[in-house]
């Protein structure tokens, strides 16, 4: 079974401070991990995916298979980063490639 856990419901940081959103997963195969973001009054959209090893809007995330984690980090948070963030896991084709989401973390960046 696929499972994604985001232990923090809310993260409140000051502008310019580092922010780290935790994501842990449970999956027996080789997963693909994603971070999605939903800004106020906007649709859910892809932020980044682990296979790209990219930095988007200053955010990075490293897949740690040993710890089954995919934490999202940004060294200097900006006010426009305030949003809901969802970690998601896509299983193998045998599992229908379905995307399983965590419960989400609300990030509030204070001025």
């Amino acid at each position: 079974a696929q499972r994604v856990t985001q232990p923090e419901k809310l993260l409140s940081v000051f502008k310019g401070a580092p922010v780290e959103l935790k994501c842990n997963y449970s999956y027996s195969g080789s997963p693909e991990l994603f971070w999605y973001v939903q800004y106020s009054r906007q649709r859910l959209q892809l932020l980044l995916r682990h296979i790209s090893r990219e930095s988007i809007k200053g955010f990075t995330a490293d897949l740690n298979k040993g710890e089954t984690s995919f934490h999202l980090k940004k060294p200097f948070a900006q006010e426009e980063d305030s949003a809901m963030y969802y970690c998601a896991l896509k299983g193998a084709q045998a599992a229908g490639n379905k995307l399983t989401f965590g419960g989400g973390t609300r990030v509030l960046v204070k001025p």
Partner: protein
């Protein structure tokens, strides 16, 4: 490229009534998903279509929920009869193919309130 279109944006109904949601995916996207997002929770997959066939409907409450994608393009999700706990945002998403090595494109969702 046009995004995933959903309608209506909002719907308020009384319990035991019926409701239907519509989704038009991105042109050419073979895979379509319906997710339910209850307030304070992450989206939960209800059903996945590949063209007009169902790939996964294991979490769809089939006694009251139904979905179809007759021509492999548009899709409708129906609830009959609705319960209070069905209040949620219903998200439609599409992807080029089920095995695409990237995420999905989501619609804006339909916010359902059952009173």
């Amino acid at each position: 490229e046009a995004g995933v279109a959903q309608s209506p944006r909002y719907k308020i109904i009384e319990k035991r009534q019926s409701v239907a949601f519509w989704c038009n995916p991105i042109s050419g996207h073979a895979t379509l998903y319906w997710y339910q997002q209850i307030l304070g929770q992450g989206p939960k997959l209800l059903i996945q279509f590949q063209n007009n066939g169902v790939v996964d409907d294991s979490q769809l409450p089939k006694d009251r929920f139904s979905a179809e994608r007759l021509k492999g393009v548009d899709s409708t999700l129906k609830i009959q009869p609705a319960k209070l706990e069905d209040s949620a945002v219903y998200l439609c998403a599409s992807s080029l193919e089920a095995g695409a090595p990237y995420g999905y494109t989501f619609g804006s969702g339909t916010r359902l309130t059952v009173v």
